[in-house]
């Protein structure tokens, strides 16, 4: 669905654009999105899963529709314009997914679904479009089906993922081909081929850098280095259809960096815990105990999440990872507690938190 069909979203997106423009291309403390892990059950066994789904971790809890509706109202009030529904694999339970979409009132958000594509059909794609889904993101790891299938732990998953992108494109939904990039593959020919495939098919490529969490906990050697990062920027300039959440999408030179999106894009687990992003497993609140506004205000009082960082804290900042993300046993379901791991200088609860830089009229 073209975004212009959603005037409420256009207004919020425009406010975001104005903020970023006035703030020298930086995201500051402007709320942007919300990532909701509705349910953690999944049919694949991906090697790098950051939610520990292959271990069967908390696969039963679901955020109920009435709570989703409440969160959606709060998110809208905060000016949040994009909403990513993810899991787990939500197409395993399509009726739950469609009930959730109805509760969200999708006309208020640039709505997307992240899926492995296994259960996508032309009929499901059409229903998603009718339910107000604007974008579907499908992760693909290689142009070699065997490599992808082995990584995902299920034969046939590559073909299903490839088909899923075609189905959503035919249904009028924006197809996003997600690629996880780490130090182990940033320069590989396979990644080049994936990017070119996405370009040729007129998809958008979304790059997620590999992070040492979940199934890859403690594996900091998978993180991209400076040469890898520079190479990704070169690919961004070359292909022009490549995004990362921390890049500035409005920069026509394709080199601007909004900054790390921690707190700007809150992540909610099926237990209701709120993390600064999907990959930083530090709890800043819970939707059953606080409002999103209260959680955001608290989160921005933590200097690492408030101050500008040109690097992704979880995937590129090795000092941050070593200091705050290396405790064994930490996961999205057992996150570190922000009040316990940050000292008074790092978390000043008396401070205002917000950066008073911009007043968007």
């Amino acid at each position: 669905m073209p975004l212009l069909k959603k005037p409420i979203v256009v207004k919020k997106f425009r406010d975001f654009h104005k903020y970023v423009k006035k703030n020298n291309g930086q995201i500051g403390t402007k709320q942007r999105g919300i990532d909701v892990n509705l349910n953690n059950a999944c049919n694949l066994r991906c090697e790098h899963c950051f939610t520990n789904s292959p271990k069967g971790d908390h696969v039963k809890p679901v955020i109920p529709a009435d709570k989703i509706a409440e969160i959606a109202d709060q998110a809208h009030e905060l000016g949040i314009f994009e909403w990513d529904l993810q899991g787990g694999e939500l197409l395993m339970r399509p009726e739950l997914l469609f009930e959730t979409l109805e509760a969200i009132k999708t006309e208020r958000f640039y709505m997307y679904l992240t899926t492995n594509g296994w259960h996508m059909t032309p009929q499901i794609a059409k229903r998603l479009a009718d339910a107000g889904v604007d974008r579907v993101s499908v992760s693909i790891d290689s142009m070699d089906p065997e490599v992808h299938d082995q990584f995902r732990g299920k034969k046939g998953s590559w073909e299903r993922a490839i088909k899923a992108l075609e189905y959503v494109q035919e249904a009028g939904i924006s197809p996003y081909l997600n690629i996880t990039v780490g130090h182990y593959n940033a320069f590989s020919e396979d990644i080049q081929m994936l990017m070119q495939y996405s370009k040729d098919k007129r998809y958008t490529t979304l790059l997620n850098v590999a992070t040492p969490g979940g199934m890859w906990s403690q594996m900091s050697d998978i993180m991209v280095d400076e040469a890898d990062k520079a190479h990704l920027i070169e690919m961004r300039k070359k292909h022009k259809n490549i995004l990362r959440n921390l890049w500035d999408p409005f920069d026509k030179k394709n080199e601007g960096v909004l900054g790390c999106n921690t707190i700007n894009r809150l992540y909610i687990t099926p237990l209701g815990d709120v993390l600064p992003c999907p990959y930083v497993h530090i709890k800043v609140g819970n939707i059953y105990e606080q409002t999103l506004q209260e959680i955001s205000d608290f989160g921005f009082k933590i200097k690492y999440f408030r101050e500008y960082s040109a690097s992704c804290l979880a995937g590129e900042d090795k000092n941050f990872v070593k200091k705050f993300m290396s405790k064994e046993g930490t996961s999205i379901f057992k996150p570190a507690d922000a009040r316990e791991i940050f000292n008074h200088e790092e978390l000043d609860e008396e401070s205002e938190g917000l950066i008073p830089l911009v007043n968007v009229s």
Binding site: P2, L3, L4, P7, V10, K11, F13, R14, H17, K18, K21, Y110, R202, K240, N241, P249, F250, K252
Partner: protein, 79 residues
């Protein structure tokens, strides 16, 4: 610079067009660069060029080069 040139310049800048003549036939999503992000960039270019602030309804309705000319009349800009 004429109003017409300013209007075309906004499209050229927003969508990095190589030929100014390309602008006159453009519609939303008719080229890769005119997506939702490109749309915001175009509106921003127009607002800066003509020193106006466009209403959300007009931003939503701004679906082509030709429609845009009509919309700008509401802001007393004749292209």
């Amino acid at each position: 610079m004429s109003t017409s040139d300013k209007y075309i310049d906004a499209f050229v800048e927003a969508f990095e067009l190589e030929d100014r003549k390309e602008a006159e036939v453009l519609e939303y999503q008719s080229i890769e660069n005119w997506d939702s992000v490109g749309h915001m960039t175009l509106i921003s270019e127009l607002e800066d060029a003509f020193d106006i602030s466009m209403e959300t309804d007009d931003i939503v309705e701004f679906s082509s080069f030709l429609v845009g000319k009509e919309i700008l009349k509401k802001y007393d800009i004749a292209v």
